[in-house]
């Protein structure tokens, strides 16, 4: 169920983990997860989707972004560039044939692969939401912080956002990054039915949405 893959890092290669349904089949899908808290909120949904893809005869791989989940690497050392390099490496290691990028994953997925992007989001939007969460909780605690000042500080020295120690290069990258999909098909939430799981304060799953996503991917691979 778990597979290791070698990932380049600042201190040499690191061994990263991926959740894998691998039976050496012809169709092999790399899933590039959403970023930050949205990755946690969508993980169960993606795992359930992978089970269905497995039943439909499609191998799938959900690698950890370096610094996230079970990764041995330091989150503070990460950047969009590092994540892009890592996802390209995972794609090569698992010899995938297609890709599914989820939300902020569309900022770092290997764009040369055919596939899908699920509700891609701009880096600036991801950043804005985390800055906002920080200023709101500061205000609750009686401190006054504003997004513009935080951002300026973050560009120079990095910033703690939503429990993540974001390095300056990650902040700078997020400010300008736009989804890099080119030829991949964009899947909208409305196609899956129900509410978007990455919005939920509590991680959830929705069998109907996993059914819909897996069926869509299997159908379009077969087409």
């Amino acid at each position: 169920m778990f597979a290791d893959w070698p990932c380049p890092g600042p201190e040499g290669p690191a061994s990263e983990q991926a959740l894998a349904f691998d039976r050496d089949r012809a169709h092999r899908l790399l899933i590039v997860p959403a970023l930050f808290e949205e990755a946690n909120r969508t993980r169960r949904f993606l795992v359930e989707t992978m089970r269905r893809l497995d039943a439909a005869g499609i191998d799938s791989f959900l690698p950890d972004l370096p610094g996230c989940n079970e990764s041995p690497q330091d989150f503070a050392a990460q950047s969009l560039h590092a994540w892009r390099t890592a996802m390209a490496q995972a794609a090569a290691h698992f010899a995938v044939t297609r890709v599914l990028a989820v939300r902020g994953g569309a900022l770092v997925f290997p764009t040369s692969l055919p596939g899908w992007v699920l509700e891609p989001v701009k880096g600036a939007t991801v950043l804005r939401q985390m800055l906002r969460a920080r200023t709101l909780s500061a205000r609750e605690a009686g401190r006054d912080e504003d997004s513009a000042t935080l951002l300026e500080h973050g560009r120079a020295e990095g910033l703690d956002l939503a429990g993540y120690r974001c390095g300056a290069s990650l902040i700078a990258g997020l400010e300008t990054a736009v989804p890099a999909d080119e030829g991949q098909r964009t899947i909208r939430q409305a196609e899956l039915g129900g509410g978007a799981l990455w919005l939920r304060a509590e991680p959830g799953e929705d069998a109907a949405q996993s059914d819909a996503l897996a069926a869509m991917i299997a159908r379009e691979i077969a087409a």
């Binding site: 969460a133 709101l136 939920r200 304060a201």
Partner: protein, 91 residues
């Protein structure tokens, strides 16, 4: 006027609250102008507020500045709806 006329903003705002907070549709449909939000809904912590505001910006095509967000804005559903209606009218 209660500010709760059955208009598009009201419908969209209820859908956003349902999606962001994972609330049941019938519970959100029962919200009225005086229904408490922040502090009254345990689902609505500061992370969820950030998600709610970002989603409002996205779906209403508006920009919400830091200094527009205060305790009053999120106190009741009526306040939040009035804010959304005013922002949309100004956009």
């Amino acid at each position: 006027m209660t500010g709760l006329a059955n208009d598009e903003t009201d419908t969209l705002l209820r859908a956003i609250l349902r999606d962001v907070l994972g609330l049941a549709a019938d519970r959100v449909a029962a919200f009225d102008a005086d229904t408490g939000l922040f502090g009254a809904l345990p689902e609505l912590d500061s992370m969820a507020v950030a998600g709610l505001l970002t989603e409002m910006e996205d779906r209403f095509d508006i920009v919400i500045d830091d200094d527009e967000v205060d305790g009053e804005l999120l106190e009741t559903y009526g306040n939040l709806l009035a804010f959304a209606q005013a922002k949309r009218a100004a956009a």
